[in-house]
Symmetry: C2
Subunit: 153 residues, 2 copies
Protein backbone atom coordinates (compact mmCIF):
# COMPACT_ATOMS: atom_id res chain seq x y z
CA UNK A 1 0.00 0.00 0.00
CA UNK A 2 1.26 3.47 -0.86
CA UNK A 3 0.84 6.25 1.65
CA UNK A 4 0.44 9.88 0.69
CA UNK A 5 1.35 12.80 2.95
CA UNK A 6 -2.17 12.91 4.41
CA UNK A 7 -2.00 9.22 5.36
CA UNK A 8 1.33 9.85 7.06
CA UNK A 9 -0.07 12.75 9.07
CA UNK A 10 -3.13 10.70 9.96
CA UNK A 11 -0.96 7.84 11.18
CA UNK A 12 1.10 10.27 13.25
CA UNK A 13 -2.04 11.57 14.93
CA UNK A 14 -3.45 8.11 15.57
CA UNK A 15 -0.14 6.89 16.99
CA UNK A 16 -0.29 9.75 19.49
CA UNK A 17 -3.96 9.49 20.39
CA UNK A 18 -6.38 7.00 18.91
CA UNK A 19 -9.38 8.34 20.83
CA UNK A 20 -9.70 11.50 18.74
CA UNK A 21 -12.99 11.72 16.90
CA UNK A 22 -13.08 11.72 13.13
CA UNK A 23 -14.39 15.24 13.34
CA UNK A 24 -11.27 16.42 15.19
CA UNK A 25 -9.06 14.62 12.69
CA UNK A 26 -11.00 16.06 9.76
CA UNK A 27 -10.28 19.57 11.08
CA UNK A 28 -6.57 18.88 11.53
CA UNK A 29 -6.27 17.35 8.07
CA UNK A 30 -8.65 19.66 6.23
CA UNK A 31 -10.75 16.75 5.04
CA UNK A 32 -14.36 15.73 5.43
CA UNK A 33 -15.37 13.32 8.18
CA UNK A 34 -16.19 10.70 5.55
CA UNK A 35 -12.78 11.01 3.93
CA UNK A 36 -11.05 10.54 7.29
CA UNK A 37 -13.28 7.60 8.06
CA UNK A 38 -12.47 5.95 4.73
CA UNK A 39 -8.73 6.54 5.01
CA UNK A 40 -8.64 5.01 8.48
CA UNK A 41 -10.62 1.99 7.35
CA UNK A 42 -8.25 1.51 4.42
CA UNK A 43 -5.24 1.68 6.75
CA UNK A 44 -6.86 -0.85 9.08
CA UNK A 45 -7.83 -3.30 6.33
CA UNK A 46 -4.48 -3.11 4.57
CA UNK A 47 -2.72 -3.97 7.84
CA UNK A 48 -0.81 -0.71 8.23
CA UNK A 49 -2.69 -0.13 11.46
CA UNK A 50 -2.23 -3.29 13.47
CA UNK A 51 -4.40 -2.59 16.49
CA UNK A 52 -5.51 -0.07 19.07
CA UNK A 53 -4.36 -0.41 22.67
CA UNK A 54 -4.43 1.35 26.01
CA UNK A 55 -1.03 2.30 27.41
CA UNK A 56 -0.76 2.25 31.18
CA UNK A 57 1.55 3.98 33.63
CA UNK A 58 4.04 1.47 35.01
CA UNK A 59 4.44 3.53 38.20
CA UNK A 60 0.72 3.46 38.96
CA UNK A 61 0.61 -0.33 38.90
CA UNK A 62 3.89 -0.82 40.72
CA UNK A 63 5.69 -2.38 37.77
CA UNK A 64 8.41 0.16 37.19
CA UNK A 65 11.52 -1.90 37.68
CA UNK A 66 12.81 -2.44 34.16
CA UNK A 67 15.87 -4.41 33.13
CA UNK A 68 17.45 -5.30 29.83
CA UNK A 69 18.95 -8.74 29.78
CA UNK A 70 21.48 -10.08 27.31
CA UNK A 71 21.42 -13.81 26.78
CA UNK A 72 23.83 -16.16 25.08
CA UNK A 73 22.79 -19.70 24.26
CA UNK A 74 25.14 -22.65 24.73
CA UNK A 75 24.21 -24.16 21.39
CA UNK A 76 22.52 -22.79 18.32
CA UNK A 77 20.90 -25.88 16.90
CA UNK A 78 17.49 -25.02 15.48
CA UNK A 79 15.83 -27.24 18.05
CA UNK A 80 17.26 -25.31 21.01
CA UNK A 81 16.69 -21.92 19.47
CA UNK A 82 13.02 -22.63 18.78
CA UNK A 83 12.52 -24.04 22.26
CA UNK A 84 14.18 -21.07 23.93
CA UNK A 85 12.15 -18.56 21.92
CA UNK A 86 8.90 -20.33 22.71
CA UNK A 87 9.62 -20.54 26.42
CA UNK A 88 10.84 -16.99 26.80
CA UNK A 89 7.80 -15.64 24.92
CA UNK A 90 5.59 -17.34 27.49
CA UNK A 91 7.16 -15.53 30.43
CA UNK A 92 4.83 -12.71 31.40
CA UNK A 93 7.66 -10.62 32.84
CA UNK A 94 9.29 -10.51 29.38
CA UNK A 95 7.74 -7.57 27.54
CA UNK A 96 10.10 -7.80 24.58
CA UNK A 97 12.59 -10.27 23.19
CA UNK A 98 14.87 -9.68 20.22
CA UNK A 99 17.27 -11.97 18.41
CA UNK A 100 20.24 -9.70 17.86
CA UNK A 101 23.64 -9.56 16.22
CA UNK A 102 26.78 -9.22 18.31
CA UNK A 103 28.32 -10.87 21.32
CA UNK A 104 25.03 -12.04 22.72
CA UNK A 105 22.17 -13.84 20.98
CA UNK A 106 19.16 -12.20 22.59
CA UNK A 107 18.10 -8.98 24.23
CA UNK A 108 15.16 -9.08 26.63
CA UNK A 109 13.20 -6.29 28.21
CA UNK A 110 11.98 -7.44 31.60
CA UNK A 111 9.32 -5.51 33.54
CA UNK A 112 8.79 -6.36 37.22
CA UNK A 113 8.02 -4.68 40.56
CA UNK A 114 11.42 -4.45 42.21
CA UNK A 115 14.85 -5.99 42.51
CA UNK A 116 13.55 -8.88 44.62
CA UNK A 117 10.98 -9.61 41.93
CA UNK A 118 13.73 -9.48 39.33
CA UNK A 119 15.94 -11.85 41.31
CA UNK A 120 13.09 -14.32 41.55
CA UNK A 121 12.46 -14.01 37.82
CA UNK A 122 16.10 -14.72 37.02
CA UNK A 123 16.48 -17.63 39.40
CA UNK A 124 13.15 -19.36 38.99
CA UNK A 125 12.11 -18.54 35.47
CA UNK A 126 14.78 -17.35 33.09
CA UNK A 127 17.74 -19.47 34.07
CA UNK A 128 15.53 -22.52 34.42
CA UNK A 129 15.22 -22.48 30.63
CA UNK A 130 17.75 -24.95 29.27
CA UNK A 131 20.67 -24.12 27.00
CA UNK A 132 21.25 -20.64 28.34
CA UNK A 133 25.00 -20.06 28.39
CA UNK A 134 25.42 -16.70 30.01
CA UNK A 135 23.36 -13.64 30.87
CA UNK A 136 24.18 -10.01 31.46
CA UNK A 137 21.66 -7.64 33.02
CA UNK A 138 21.41 -3.86 32.79
CA UNK A 139 18.99 -1.96 34.95
CA UNK A 140 17.06 1.04 33.74
CA UNK A 141 17.92 4.06 35.87
CA UNK A 142 15.76 6.46 33.93
CA UNK A 143 13.50 6.30 30.92
CA UNK A 144 14.66 9.29 28.88
CA UNK A 145 12.35 8.62 25.95
CA UNK A 146 9.76 5.98 25.25
CA UNK A 147 7.34 6.11 22.38
CA UNK A 148 5.33 3.40 20.68
CA UNK A 149 5.01 5.61 17.62
CA UNK A 150 7.06 4.90 14.52
CA UNK A 151 8.30 7.88 12.61
CA UNK A 152 7.18 7.62 9.00
CA UNK A 153 8.72 9.91 6.46
Amino acid sequence: MTLDTIDIKLLDYLQQDSKQTNKELSNKLNLSVTAVYERIRKLERSGVIDKYVALINKQEVNKDFVAFCHIKLVQHAQEYVTKFEREVANLKEVAECYHISGDYDYLLKVVVSDMEDFREFMVNKLTSINHIGSTHSMFVINEVKHTTAINIS
Copy 2:
Protein backbone atom coordinates in the same frame (compact mmCIF):
# COMPACT_ATOMS: atom_id res chain seq x y z
CA MET B 1 -5.18 3.93 43.57
CA THR B 2 -6.00 0.34 44.54
CA LEU B 3 -6.97 -2.08 41.83
CA ASP B 4 -9.25 -5.04 42.42
CA THR B 5 -9.24 -8.20 40.33
CA ILE B 6 -11.87 -6.77 37.98
CA ASP B 7 -9.75 -3.66 37.33
CA ILE B 8 -6.77 -5.86 36.54
CA LYS B 9 -8.77 -7.95 34.08
CA LEU B 10 -10.18 -4.79 32.53
CA LEU B 11 -6.68 -3.34 32.09
CA ASP B 12 -5.51 -6.58 30.52
CA TYR B 13 -8.33 -6.41 27.98
CA LEU B 14 -7.75 -2.74 27.19
CA GLN B 15 -4.02 -3.27 26.79
CA GLN B 16 -4.78 -5.91 24.16
CA ASP B 17 -7.55 -4.05 22.34
CA SER B 18 -8.86 -0.63 23.27
CA LYS B 19 -11.51 -0.59 20.54
CA GLN B 20 -13.74 -3.11 22.27
CA THR B 21 -17.12 -1.67 23.11
CA ASN B 22 -18.20 -1.32 26.72
CA LYS B 23 -20.89 -3.88 25.96
CA GLU B 24 -18.31 -6.49 24.97
CA LEU B 25 -16.29 -5.71 28.08
CA SER B 26 -19.39 -5.85 30.27
CA ASN B 27 -20.05 -9.39 29.01
CA LYS B 28 -16.48 -10.53 29.62
CA LEU B 29 -16.45 -9.03 33.12
CA ASN B 30 -20.04 -9.80 34.11
CA LEU B 31 -20.79 -6.15 34.81
CA SER B 32 -23.26 -3.62 33.48
CA VAL B 33 -22.23 -1.28 30.70
CA THR B 34 -22.35 1.68 33.08
CA ALA B 35 -20.15 -0.07 35.63
CA VAL B 36 -17.54 -0.76 32.96
CA TYR B 37 -17.75 2.81 31.77
CA GLU B 38 -17.22 4.16 35.30
CA ARG B 39 -14.29 1.87 36.03
CA ILE B 40 -12.56 2.91 32.83
CA ARG B 41 -13.10 6.57 33.57
CA LYS B 42 -11.69 6.11 37.06
CA LEU B 43 -8.61 4.40 35.61
CA GLU B 44 -8.18 7.23 33.11
CA ARG B 45 -8.60 10.03 35.64
CA SER B 46 -6.31 8.44 38.23
CA GLY B 47 -3.60 8.16 35.59
CA VAL B 48 -3.39 4.37 35.51
CA ILE B 49 -4.41 4.50 31.87
CA ASP B 50 -2.05 6.95 30.24
CA LYS B 51 -3.42 7.14 26.72
CA TYR B 52 -4.86 5.22 23.80
CA VAL B 53 -2.79 4.76 20.67
CA ALA B 54 -2.79 3.03 17.32
CA LEU B 55 0.02 0.54 16.78
CA ILE B 56 1.25 0.23 13.22
CA ASN B 57 3.07 -2.51 11.36
CA LYS B 58 6.70 -1.53 10.85
CA GLN B 59 6.92 -3.73 7.77
CA GLU B 60 3.99 -2.03 6.05
CA VAL B 61 5.60 1.42 6.33
CA ASN B 62 9.10 0.24 5.45
CA LYS B 63 10.57 1.01 8.88
CA ASP B 64 11.57 -2.44 9.97
CA PHE B 65 15.28 -2.02 10.42
CA VAL B 66 15.72 -1.91 14.17
CA ALA B 67 18.97 -1.46 16.08
CA PHE B 68 19.87 -1.17 19.72
CA CYS B 69 22.68 1.22 20.36
CA HIS B 70 24.82 1.43 23.46
CA ILE B 71 26.30 4.82 24.19
CA LYS B 72 28.98 5.93 26.58
CA LEU B 73 29.50 9.61 27.35
CA VAL B 74 32.93 11.15 27.68
CA GLN B 75 31.97 13.12 30.74
CA HIS B 76 29.12 12.84 33.19
CA ALA B 77 28.73 16.41 34.34
CA GLN B 78 25.07 17.27 34.80
CA GLU B 79 25.30 19.82 32.03
CA TYR B 80 26.43 17.29 29.41
CA VAL B 81 24.00 14.62 30.56
CA THR B 82 21.02 16.95 30.31
CA LYS B 83 22.13 18.22 26.93
CA PHE B 84 22.65 14.71 25.56
CA GLU B 85 19.28 13.53 26.81
CA ARG B 86 17.47 16.49 25.33
CA GLU B 87 19.13 16.14 21.94
CA VAL B 88 18.69 12.41 21.67
CA ALA B 89 15.00 12.69 22.63
CA ASN B 90 14.53 15.03 19.68
CA LEU B 91 15.83 12.53 17.13
CA LYS B 92 12.82 11.02 15.41
CA GLU B 93 14.65 7.79 14.64
CA VAL B 94 15.12 7.17 18.38
CA ALA B 95 12.01 5.35 19.56
CA GLU B 96 13.35 4.67 23.05
CA CYS B 97 16.24 5.86 25.19
CA TYR B 98 17.17 4.51 28.59
CA HIS B 99 19.77 5.56 31.09
CA ILE B 100 21.13 2.24 32.25
CA SER B 101 23.56 0.68 34.69
CA GLY B 102 26.63 -1.17 33.47
CA ASP B 103 29.48 -0.58 31.07
CA TYR B 104 27.54 1.86 28.92
CA ASP B 105 25.47 4.87 29.99
CA TYR B 106 22.56 4.66 27.56
CA LEU B 107 20.63 2.17 25.50
CA LEU B 108 18.78 3.43 22.45
CA LYS B 109 16.25 1.73 20.25
CA VAL B 110 16.60 3.07 16.74
CA VAL B 111 13.97 2.43 14.07
CA VAL B 112 14.85 3.19 10.45
CA SER B 113 14.31 1.83 6.92
CA ASP B 114 17.51 -0.01 6.17
CA MET B 115 21.24 -0.21 6.86
CA GLU B 116 21.96 2.82 4.68
CA ASP B 117 19.41 4.80 6.65
CA PHE B 118 21.03 3.62 9.85
CA ARG B 119 24.49 4.59 8.68
CA GLU B 120 23.24 8.05 7.85
CA PHE B 121 21.58 8.32 11.26
CA MET B 122 24.81 7.37 13.02
CA VAL B 123 27.07 9.63 11.00
CA ASN B 124 24.89 12.70 10.63
CA LYS B 125 22.73 12.67 13.70
CA LEU B 126 23.84 10.56 16.62
CA THR B 127 27.58 11.05 16.57
CA SER B 128 27.16 14.75 15.86
CA ILE B 129 25.90 15.09 19.42
CA ASN B 130 28.79 16.23 21.54
CA HIS B 131 30.34 14.33 24.45
CA ILE B 132 29.61 10.87 23.07
CA GLY B 133 32.57 8.67 23.94
CA SER B 134 31.83 5.37 22.30
CA THR B 135 28.94 3.52 20.75
CA HIS B 136 28.16 -0.13 20.17
CA SER B 137 25.32 -1.18 17.88
CA MET B 138 23.38 -4.43 17.78
CA PHE B 139 20.98 -5.18 14.96
CA VAL B 140 17.67 -6.90 15.46
CA ILE B 141 17.60 -10.10 13.43
CA ASN B 142 14.16 -11.15 14.59
CA GLU B 143 11.52 -9.80 16.92
CA VAL B 144 10.65 -12.84 19.01
CA LYS B 145 8.22 -11.05 21.29
CA HIS B 146 7.00 -7.48 21.45
CA THR B 147 4.13 -6.35 23.60
CA THR B 148 3.18 -2.91 24.88
CA ALA B 149 1.11 -4.54 27.61
CA ILE B 150 2.38 -4.63 31.17
CA ASN B 151 1.59 -7.71 33.16
CA ILE B 152 -0.18 -6.73 36.35
CA SER B 153 -0.55 -9.30 39.06
